[in-house]
């Protein structure tokens, strides 16, 4: 499914300074029973966000009205564990378009790119800076510029560049997806398939 185009985004951010946030926390398995890609945002971080009686946990950041925005900032090794794309859907459906971390798990990063959420990997120092600044002032904005591959902390003007390969960058900018590309080279694929021994 083609998705929204992405160029630049300036937004406040939600800090989650926890390491190794796994996809079972992002969306627990019992919420994976849907057969359509809808409504996963309600259960984003379900067990950190709600008590067992479904009342919100006051100390969790998504329940803190001071913090909101389209950018989620997570600790080192964000998105580890299960390959469930539902985790990326939940992040997207909740309203985030960018996830910032100093390190991403592979499959989660790939899943994000495939559905139009931009993973932005920054240095550990820069990540800490973002956390520090946001802790002091939740209104601080971050600017993510995909064409320039640059993320800027608007309060201080400090910025860092981030990596993304040209192909994925082009997809994100234009809202293309991989299947469009693959369907275009279907003839080559069919020729290749004939050469496979098993």
């Amino acid at each position: 499914m083609a998705y929204d185009k992405f160029s630049t985004l300036t937004s406040t951010a939600v800090p989650l300074p926890i390491e190794n946030v796994d996809t079972d926390q992002i969306i627990p398995a019992r919420f994976l029973k849907a057969t359509e890609r809808m409504g996963f945002g309600d259960n984003l971080f379900r067990d950190w966000r709600y008590n067992q009686d479904n009342t919100p946990k006051a100390d969790f950041i998504l329940n803190d009205s001071k913090y909101n925005g389209k950018i989620l900032v997570g600790g080192h090794n964000f998105g580890s564990g299960s390959s469930r794309e539902h985790a990326a859907w939940a992040v997207y459906d909740y309203g985030f378009r960018v996830v910032v971390s100093s390190f991403f798990a592979d499959i989660f990063r790939g899943n994000c790119l495939n559905i139009g959420v931009l993973p932005v990997q920054v240095s550990a120092d820069f990540l800490q800076k973002i956390f520090d600044v946001l802790e002091k002032d939740p209104k601080i904005e971050l600017k993510v510029n995909l064409p320039e591959q640059k993320i800027t902390l608007l309060a201080t003007g400090e910025s860092e560049s981030f990596d993304i390969n040209d192909y994925k960058k082009n997809n994100m900018t234009n809202g293309f997806d991989d299947i469009d590309y693959l369907l275009n080279i279907k003839k080559d694929i069919q020729e290749f398939a004939k050469t496979r021994p098993f």
Binding site: P17, D22, A29, H76, N165, D178, I179, L182, F192, P197
Partner: protein, 471 residues
Amino acid sequence: MSAKKTLFDKVWDSHVVHQIENGPDVLFIDRHMVHEVTSPVAFLGLKNRGIGVLHPEKTFATADHNTPTTNQHLPVADPLSANQLKMLEENANEHGISYWGLGHEKNGIVHVVGPEYGITVPGATIVCGDSHTSTHGAFGAIAFGIGTSEVEMVLATECIMQPKAKRMRINVTGELQFGVTSKDVALFIISQLTTSGATGYFVEYAGDVFKSMTMEGRMTVCNLSIEMGARGGMIAPDETTFHYIKDREFTPKGAAWDKAMEYWQTLYTEPGAIFDKELTFDGSLIEPMITYGTNPGMGMGISKDIPTSDMVQGGASTYKKSLQYMKFGEGDSMIGKPIDFVFLGSCTNGRIEDFRAFASIVKGRKKADNVTVWLVPGSHKVEKAIKEEGILAIINEAGFELREPGCSACLAMNDDKVPPGKLAVSTSNRNFEGRQGPGSRTLLASPLVAAAAAVTGKVTDPRELMQKEMA
């Protein structure tokens, strides 16, 4: 002069349809395993695009994550689970895909049945919308988990677009001690590398320890590759591999087998090939392992004490949060901690060898009164072997019951959930917060450690029970 190739290079390079400059490779996929949870949105995507499945004959579907492990002959009670299972069946039928649903003799966990029926072969590329697809790497295949968008891609085009991973080799030399299993080797490696230590890499396991391992053991090791962040793990095929796959339903036969063998025998890393990273461990130093925290990297030898926060890498606050969740203290010993649940099963340790190991300890003993024990075979084939080998009689005699195949308590998507606050010794692969049910606390370990906990009701070094028998 061409560069020396690794096993990974050989298999990857032979599947590249297209290379995109400063972008991913287009990789051809030989086998696509499908299950009910990560596929419905992919099939819906095909429908929306008005396209079909390019190679239904390379695609295999089984139901496992949602399925109950008792009374499988009855309708599935949870309406959402039942709906997901029905969708898979409908999608498989519509597109002409082999479907091994609930009650089918070939039904079981996707990563258990693939190898059992010879769908998994050396030199193949194998994907599934499930991170533990790395299991199939035990056969010298490139196998890895994918997201639902990628499931749709493979259904539509039999290809995936991914950059080639970096190469890592992990050597474990020497001989394992008595009571140390493949699970312990894997948990040991993860404890050394952390859960992100192999991110961005494809791992080849080499050395005497893996050479002398059975296929079941190799599958356990490769299965857990993802828990250190690796894209996948693989082991060069050898006589053990060829012996295991010969004459399975989907493996090549006759002249096709001979031809395949010719190719499979070329699948090894050439001497002098360069890895981006190489690590070597002494296998004789590995103890039976147990985890104490909320990720698989938080593991240690069962006789050790939980490290203090000043000893660990990374953030002390995350570490403390993790121990707090587990209700453990820094410096605690794990031995003797009372256990509420024991789970033997999953795609990590739900194979016949795992049940043999469990039975070897519980034989002649009795289930501890304070524990609930779920023994869940990975497939009907495993279940059948348990009965035929007399293992069922042994475990029944010891006061345990056998359930029906499925993912069960590995991920708490079905009825088998560990209640809040309860402590479980589990042979599965993830000890994340709530993985086995909201508020559940998980200790990952081998089938031997699970058996020792099942009969003593607490964390026990299995070697104690094994040595008594030897004396």
